[in-house]
């Protein structure tokens, strides 16, 4: 497949990239993203970085035809991956799709800035990095004091009730709760999601 003349440089490129694209399955990639989100795992971040960086640099060169801007695209994309990994939902799609979205958005804003010096960052409004549902939990919080909801809350299993009370009545962060209860952050998140789904079903049923 690869001719012998280019073999050398191909293999050295491989070393640069450290990990070859084809050999990493999508489960590993989304696992790394989740580790970044839940554990702020720097090693997972370094792995993600190594896998994506040659590709992002390559994409950036095509977009901007300028190595410095390609490097800026890499820096900005990976900064967003680090700071926004919690918006990634592995049930909604592949890690590559999400990172592509982050990169495409930054590239779009950079191009817009270059072309007409627009300082706006429209891209995340055009292509949201997370489903709108992610915000339901916050909107929902405003109504949680409602007495009826308090009743439904009592019908939840204790381990879910504990989480909802911690987050919405004691203002604890999900990280703090995980620490206090000595359970993984992922468990806190999934219990909260389950509890809110159940509560919403009750409320929806009543409002129909």
């Amino acid at each position: 497949m690869i001719s012998t003349t280019t073999n050398n440089y191909r293999s050295s490129m491989k070393q640069n990239a450290s990990l070859d694209g084809q050999e990493i399955d999508s489960k590993t990639l989304s696992g790394w993203l989740n580790d970044i989100a839940e554990k702020r795992d720097k090693r997972a971040f370094a792995s993600i970085f190594k896998w994506f960086s040659p590709k992002i640099i390559g994409f950036g060169r095509k977009q901007f035809n300028n190595p410095a801007l390609a490097s800026e695209l890499l820096q900005e994309t990976m900064t967003n991956v680090w700071r926004k990994a919690h918006l990634y939902n592995s049930e909604k799609g592949a890690a590559t799709t999400w990172v592509y979205t982050v990169m495409r958005n930054i590239s779009f804003d950079m191009l817009r800035k270059m072309q007409a010096n627009h300082e706006d960052t429209l891209s995340d409004d055009i292509w949201p990095l997370a489903e709108a549902q992610n915000s339901d939990e916050h909107v929902f919080a405003d109504h949680l004091m409602d007495k009826q909801i308090a009743q439904y809350l009592n019908q939840l299993p204790d381990n879910q009730k504990q989480i909802v009370q911690g987050v919405y009545f004691q203002d604890l962060s999900q990280e703090q709760l995980a620490k206090n209860l000595n359970i993984p952050l992922g468990t806190v998140k999934s219990r909260l999601r389950l509890a809110l789904t159940k509560l919403r079903q009750h409320i929806g049923a009543d409002n129909d």
Binding site: Y9, M13, K14, N16, A17, G21, R40, K42, F45, A46, F49, K50, F52, S53, P54, K55, I57, G58, F59, R61, K62, P67, S71, L74, M78, T79, W82, R83, K84, A85, H86, L87, G93, A94, T96, T97, V99, Y100, T101, R104, N105, S107, F108, L111, R112, H118, D120, L122, S123, D124, D125, I126, W127, P128, L129, A132, N134, S135, H138, V139
Partner: protein, 223 residues
Amino acid sequence: MIKHHPQLSLLKTYCAGELPASISVIIAAHIELCPHCQQQVEALTAKAAKDTFTYAYVEDEAEQSEFAEIDFASMIDDITLDDGIDEIKVAQPIELSLNQNTFYLPQVLRNLELSSWASLGKLSRSRVTLEDASLHTSLLHIDADGSVPEHTHNGFEITLLLEGSFKDEMGEYTKGDFIWLDGKHTHNPITEHGCLCLTVSSDSLHFTQGLSKLLNPIGKFIY
């Protein structure tokens, strides 16, 4: 039921981030209303991602040595130095009150300003402050029984029907319909119960018939 969608090739360019901002915005607004296109876009984005990330792009030796010069370790350190995360803003309904009606605008407009409304007969227009070269983005409201006299488009005009309905020579349009017209089309939209549209136009309309030629200033108004 939405019958008019952006063409697949347009959605593809949208996913690649290669369209002007105003066209990207109006497509995003359609997608908020259209589960069908939402699915298309998800699939197209996944494909674009796959195509982009399947091959390492660092091509020739010069590029490769430049690539090797980037100090990745310190970039990683810089980025992870700050443990903070970016929360996204909670989606709040964007209400618009106009002529005693309340409308809800697409979320994609949340950070864009609207100019004050200008009215001409049954037409009201507000500009969406989105600088994008010669493309103009506007909200256009037509009161019940209102119409836009027969006209053609010097450039192109994209209309997204946000609320209500209207009809023209080519058919009847309902909420969510995405209509792209250019100089080939001549039409005379009429609305029975009123409608609110988001529009992107590249040039002013041109009125074509009899006395309504006198209305050509309206064409500039709408554009």
